[in-house]
């Protein structure tokens, strides 16, 4: 990490190239250094300004460091500030020169002006030079006892900075107890708040090693301390209030009376002008009342108006953050906003990200009473100029239809879309009509009549075309022209670029043949011939399969390709309800915006083994979590998650029609949590692959429509240790020692490749199969991962280097192991895990 590097941004011609100007500055500064002539400060100020502006542009001006320090003897506060800024930027990389600054900073720390004392102290603490920490202890100690609150406030944060530089110095100087004293006594609320943030961070970092720190951390959540903060709530600045409220949300009140007291005290915070305060208060309310069903409902009612105001009055960015939270709430209790649906009507000039969330809200709040209005509104967006918006709106209409409200009217609307003769509308609608028919086969008559009129020439998008072809095949007996349309499509086989469409075409022709053999025979022959000659492996394989099936026995083919179908009752939901509960626990955090619990993305992974390097090819091996603790923790979290994945099947999707059932499980969270914890432990994760959530595809997909040839689902004989952990350096060493025992090339599901945009997706997926990622790197289209797995019994380890090309979907595997006998079995297991990536 060089100081603001030029290499990233080549300076434009208009910018000074640096060198000459910097040395000019150097001489000018040197001349001024000793001068005490009047007006010197003004000249200095101009020069300092220049230096800092170069620094801001990204030119390295560290060479004038000593001159800057020499010029720093001044009483002008702006000059001082600029000097502090400069020093703060370069000291870290010039520790020797930084020593020069200590002198004048120490002097300034004793200045009479509290502002200068504060600024000097802040700058001293921000230097970030580890070998200067000894000079910090004195000024910090004085700062904490300073008569001026500004200095104390700076010192309180300074202690935290010192702690990060050198924890031992900070603890040896006994700063935490001092902070605690200040926190509980100081008159100035900002000092109190700063002490709180510093102590929270210090004690939670220390808690793992020191029992005392753990006790102190508990102390922060004790009744007297929390009440102390609550009572001073109104003195705090709005930002400090957020921090205090976050603390309060972790506090567990003894009885309901206490809960009511706290809520009464905090209720006026809901009227605060700062949205962050409002949201933090809401978090307190929601968490405290989890165990009190009735009150919890009342809380929903109470927080409704402030939330809706936040959505409609703030900037789009604020609306976005608030809407993400609303979406979470509405998933738990759809009824709360069902009468306020109009708040989620989209404005024409809102950014797309806000509109998208509003559409999600509209689909979530739709119920018997408002569906008509909502769908009417959505239909207006469909006619909108904004094409992405039109598409999203159609999808929203479709989602509402699949929620079973007033399907009748919706199907009519959808069919009207088809008559609008706009390509993107038609395309999007066709996909939806297909899904609708899978759920409500009784509508096939009406739909087919309209769909039959669409010329396949007007449909170009692969997904839409595939949907149309699916319908042509599925309803071949109801559509007069079906065989002939399909025949036309088969004739243009070579012009069809999408493998998905060709796959569907094969299946559709097959189905059509099974119903109307005489008319389709020619088309089928052509399709099979073209399919067998196809360069795409999947298309080729499927054509061959059909060909052999037909050759073997037509009735068997019929049973396989065209069995009687049951309507799909629920489509797979992307998120389990347990997952949503987990996110709810992290209300008012990034988890809500990303719609993922934080363990799936927070910094442990970033700092740890998943450090993704910017440049291609450079591979970073994580060094920090050398003990397996973090890894094990993560694995554990993931284990639960997988189990939840299966339980999702029984109880998910309830939210659509039964709101109260939805939030029920969490009310007595303490008991169920305990129980389910036990449940997790009972089911050990020795066979991870079987726990993978089964996909909710229709029966068609037995043949792997849209999926690569289905991997065998039988669990391989090899069992892996779910809690395997290895030190990255040990991995490196082992990798160097072992010979390659297996080198293979395979392919990855294109859907999986799409998921690679999130660098954590694949490691997380593989972890679900007890294969841990040690390091990863690369940039599209080439990604490189190192995985590690361990056999359940015995300590045999498997090391894998996996190079994925996301554009060609090719994967190269190199497996090294100290147990050669099972390397083949492991390779199979690895590939089967990999092939499931993205398809679930």
């Amino acid at each position: 990490m060089a100081p603001p590097a030029q290499s990233h941004r080549s300076p434009s011609p208009s910018q000074p190239s640096g060198k000459g100007e910097v040395s000019d500055l150097k001489t000018q500064l040197r001349q001024l250094a000793g001068s005490r002539a009047p007006g010197t400060d003004d000249t200095k100020r101009e020069l300092f300004k220049k230096v800092i502006s170069y620094m801001t542009i990204g030119i390295d001006v560290s060479s004038v460091f000593s001159e800057m320090v020499m010029c720093s003897a001044t009483s002008d506060i702006v000059l001082k500030k600029m000097c502090y800024l400069y020093v703060g930027n370069y000291a870290k990389h010039n520790p020797d020169l930084a020593l020069l600054t200590i002198n004048f900073l120490q002097r300034d720390c004793k200045d009479e002006d509290p502002m200068i004392r504060g600024l000097a102290l802040r700058s001293s603490c921000s230097l970030g030079v580890a070998n200067l920490v000894e000079y910090l202890v004195g000024p910090l100690g004085n700062g904490l006892k300073d008569g001026n609150s500004y200095v104390r406030m700076v010192a309180a944060v300074g202690v935290l900075k010192l702690y990060h530089l050198s924890a031992s110095t900070c603890l040896d100087a006994d700063f935490p107890p001092l902070l605690k004293q200040l926190m509980l006594k100081d008159k100035d609320a900002q000092v109190v708040a700063n002490c709180l943030t510093s102590l929270q961070e210090i004690w939670s970092l220390e808690a793992s090693t020191s029992e005392e720190a753990a006790r102190e951390r508990e102390m922060l959540l004790s009744k007297p301390v929390v009440y102390y903060f609550l009572n001073r709530m109104k003195e705090f600045s709005e930002w400090a209030q957020c921090i205090v409220l976050e603390l309060v949300s972790k506090y567990v009140p003894v009885d309901s009376e206490e809960i009511f007291d706290i809520m009464n005290l905090l209720e006026d915070r809901l009227l605060h002008a700062n949205g962050a305060v409002v949201l933090a208060t809401i978090k307190v309310f929601l968490h405290m009342t989890l165990s009190m069903t009735d009150v919890h409902q009342q809380v929903y009612e109470r927080i409704k108006a402030p939330l809706l105001t936040l959505v409609s009055s703030g900037s789009p960015e604020q609306s976005y953050a608030v809407l993400s939270h609303l979406h979470l709430l509405v998933m738990r209790a759809p009824y709360i906003f069902s009468s306020d649906y109009k708040h989620f009507y989209c404005q024409y000039n809102e950014p797309f990200y806000v509109k998208k969330l509003k559409l999600d809200m509209l689909t979530a709040v739709a119920n018997e009473s408002n569906t008509y209005e909502i769908v009417t509104e959505l239909c207006e967006y469909v006619a909108n100029v904004d094409i992405p918006m039109a598409r999203e709106s159609i999808r929203a209409v479709g989602k509402i239809a699949l929620q079973q409200y007033d399907v009748n009217a919706i199907v009519d609307r959808l069919l009207q879309f088809l008559e609008m003769e706009k390509e993107h509308v038609t395309a999007e609608t066709l996909v939806l009509v297909k899904d609708l028919l899978r759920k409500y086969p009784q509508w096939s008559h009406d739909c087919i009549a309209v769909v039959g009129n669409i010329s396949s020439k007007n449909v170009q998008e692969p997904k839409a075309k595939a949907a149309l072809i699916w319908m042509l095949g599925e309803y071949a007996q109801d559509m007069q022209d079906s065989p002939y349309i399909l025949e036309g499509l088969v004739e243009n086989w070579d012009e069809e670029n999408s493998a998905e469409v060709r796959l569907h075409l094969l299946t559709a022709v097959m189905k059509c043949f099974l119903r109307r053999a005489p008319e389709t025979q020619k088309a089928l022959g052509d399709a099979l011939a073209a399919g067998v000659a196809d360069f795409n492996q999947d298309v080729h394989d499927r054509a061959l399969l059909y060909y052999r099936l037909l050759k073997y026995d037509v009735s068997v083919a019929e049973r396989i390709v065209n069995p009687p179908k049951q309507a799909v009752s629920v489509f797979a939901d992307t998120q389990s309800s347990e997952m949503k509960d987990r996110i709810f626990d992290e209300f008012n955090s990034l988890s809500v915006v990303y719609q993922k619990p934080s363990y799936m993305f927070t910094d442990k992974e970033h700092r740890g083994p998943f450090a993704f390097s910017e440049e291609l090819g450079t591979l970073s091996i994580g060094t920090e979590p050398s003990d397996g603790a973090v890894a094990a923790q993560r694995v554990e979290a993931n284990d639960k998650d997988l189990l939840l994945g299966t339980s999702e099947k029984e109880e998910s999707h309830g939210y659509g029609n039964n709101g109260s059932a939805y939030s029920a499980p969490s009310y007595d969270a303490s008991t169920t949590a305990g129980a389910s914890q036990g449940h997790f432990d009972l089911v050990s994760i020795d066979q991870p692959s079987t726990l993978h959530p089964p996909s909710g595809f229709a029966i068609d997909d037995l043949l792997g429509l849209g999926m690569p040839a289905a991997p065998s689902s039988a669990p391989p004989a090899l069992l892996l240790n779910a809690k395997a952990a290895i030190d990255p350096s040990a991995f490196q060493q082992k990798w160097r020692q072992l010979p390659v025992s297996l080198s293979q090339e395979t392919s990855i599901d294109p859907q999986g490749v799409a998921g690679m945009t999130n660098p954590q997706a694949l490691p997380q997926h593989m972890q679900g199969h007890s294969i841990n990622c040690i390091a990863s790197g690369g940039q599209a289209p080439n990604f490189k991962f190192f995985f590690f797995a361990q056999k359940a019994e015995g300590s045999f380890a498997y090391l894998v280097e996996c190079v994925i090309n996301s554009s060609s979907c090719k994967v190269q595997l190199k497996i090294k192991t100290d147990d050669q006998a099972t390397s083949q079995a492991f390779s199979e297991l690895f590939q089967s895990a990999l092939s499931k990536f993205g398809s679930a």
Binding site: W239, A321, N349, Y353
Partner: protein
């Protein structure tokens, strides 16, 4: 908490970088971020909270300047966004506007401000009144002063008195030659009228803005004749909430100068002051358009600053629009803006014309949304009325003034 704040220009150049913690954030993150914007096409389209391979980024765009903040740990997203919005507000307030040049010219002030607004990633104070006392804004007055007195420092030598006082938004010893306080009701009407001409949604977002130039520590009470109209209210921290809960009275010690005392929403209004009726009839490749504007519900005061703006669908190749009142401008991006100005007494303004569609297109089937702006002085359309404003501890009788104003906010008519 936040680790770093960057200010980027509209071409992705780093205008300013403020590291907040010991973990230095490399500038390369800005390049990554800008690539994201380029792939999205427009900075306004990029989601405000995104995750890069190394950091979580928050971004807020104001006047072409992107405020970008980075963090690596979990934190309340709204807090980060609110903070960035405040930074943007404070800067534009200080620099009297916001653009690349202003920031480049005043980067020292921006650094100073950020220094006081956030420390170690935790926001400290964003209250403009307090900041103003610590760092003087670069206005003409201070420039003149510096010439006269020879003191060029733009920093006051004393710490803000308010930090020690119990009223953090106000200095203790303020003196004004004129004692005056003005209260403005500023309302914005948000309305959506659908294709059939029905009013789908109509509500008022209002603010009570106060400009106070009072000496000493004045204690004000403001009461409304009909506080029951409010659906939801939010207050400046100076408002005491107990009197509001009991009697719906606003009791407060005001900050000095202009500030927003409260904001409120009034839902479910039944009608709008004006109507806009667009009509399209397509016939073999051309489309007739006519737009009528008139008074639906007379507010009793004249309606002025009326403009109607809409964007022609991309399939329109040329247009010929003529109004019977006001003027029409068609911009290169097919935005048509029809400026009417004050509503005429004698006739209803109308605009008509023809649109020529792309060859091969028979009729128009995407229709624009019309955005309507207007202003009515002297009326708060929500019906809100101020009853009285009392001063508890007056040194002398202050001059009091009240005004009301309603503007069109998100007033949209679909066609």
């Amino acid at each position: 908490m936040l680790q770093c704040i960057f200010l980027l220009s509209d071409s992705g150049e780093v205008l300013l970088e403020k590291q907040l913690t010991g973990h230095r954030v490399d500038r390369a993150i800005c390049d990554w971020f800008w690539n994201q914007i380029l792939t999205q096409g427009d900075s306004l389209k990029l989601v405000p909270v995104i995750s890069s391979p190394t950091h979580y980024l928050f971004q807020v765009v104001r006047e072409g300047i992107t405020f970008l903040a980075c963090t690596q740990i979990e934190m309340p997203p709204l807090m980060a966004i609110e903070f960035l919005c405040r930074v943007a507000d404070v800067l534009s307030n200080y620099l009297d506007g916001l653009n690349e040049d202003l920031i480049k010219d005043n980067f020292v002030i921006v650094y100073e401000l950020l220094d006081e607004m956030i420390d170690n990633g935790f926001p400290l104070t964003t209250e403009p009144n307090i900041l103003r006392e610590m760092i003087a804004p670069p206005n003409i007055v201070s420039k003149v002063l510096s010439v006269v007195t020879g003191n060029t420092s733009n920093v006051s030598n004393t710490l803000p008195g308010a930090t020690a006082s119990c009223v953090p938004w106000r200095k203790t010893d303020l003196k004004h030659a004129t004692n005056e306080v003005y209260v403005d009701l500023v309302e914005e009407m948000d309305a959506t009228i659908n294709r059939d001409g029905n009013l789908v949604k109509c509500e008022i977002y209002g603010e009570v803005q106060v400009n106070s130039n009072l000496s000493g520590l004045p204690d004000l009470t403001l009461s409304f004749a009909n506080p029951s109209v409010f659906n939801d209210v939010r207050f400046h921290p100076c408002v005491r909430l107990r009197p509001w809960e009991l009697n719906q009275i606003l009791s407060f010690v005001p900050p000095d100068g202009q500030f927003k005392l409260m904001s409120y929403r009034v839902k479910k209004l039944k009608s709008t002051p004006i109507y806009v009726k667009p009509q399209f009839t397509s016939d073999s490749g051309t489309c007739r358009i006519s737009v009528l504007v008139g008074i639906r519900n007379d507010p009793g005061k004249s309606i002025d600053n009326i403009t109607v703006e809409f964007r022609l669908p991309p399939c329109v190749t040329s247009s010929d629009l003529s109004p019977n009142y006001g003027s029409v401008n068609v911009l290169a991006d097919k935005t048509c803006s029809w400026t009417i100005g004050r509503m005429p007494k004698d006739k209803a303004p109308s605009m008509s014309g023809t649109l020529v569609l792309e060859t091969g297109m028979e009729r128009l089937h995407v229709f624009p949304t019309f955005q309507v702006a207007f202003r009515i002085m002297g009326v708060a359309l929500s019906g809100l009325k101020i009853d009285k404003l009392d001063l508890k501890n007056p040194l002398s009788r202050p001059h009091k003034g009240f005004r009301a104003l309603t503007r069109g906010g998100e007033f949209q008519v679909r066609s």
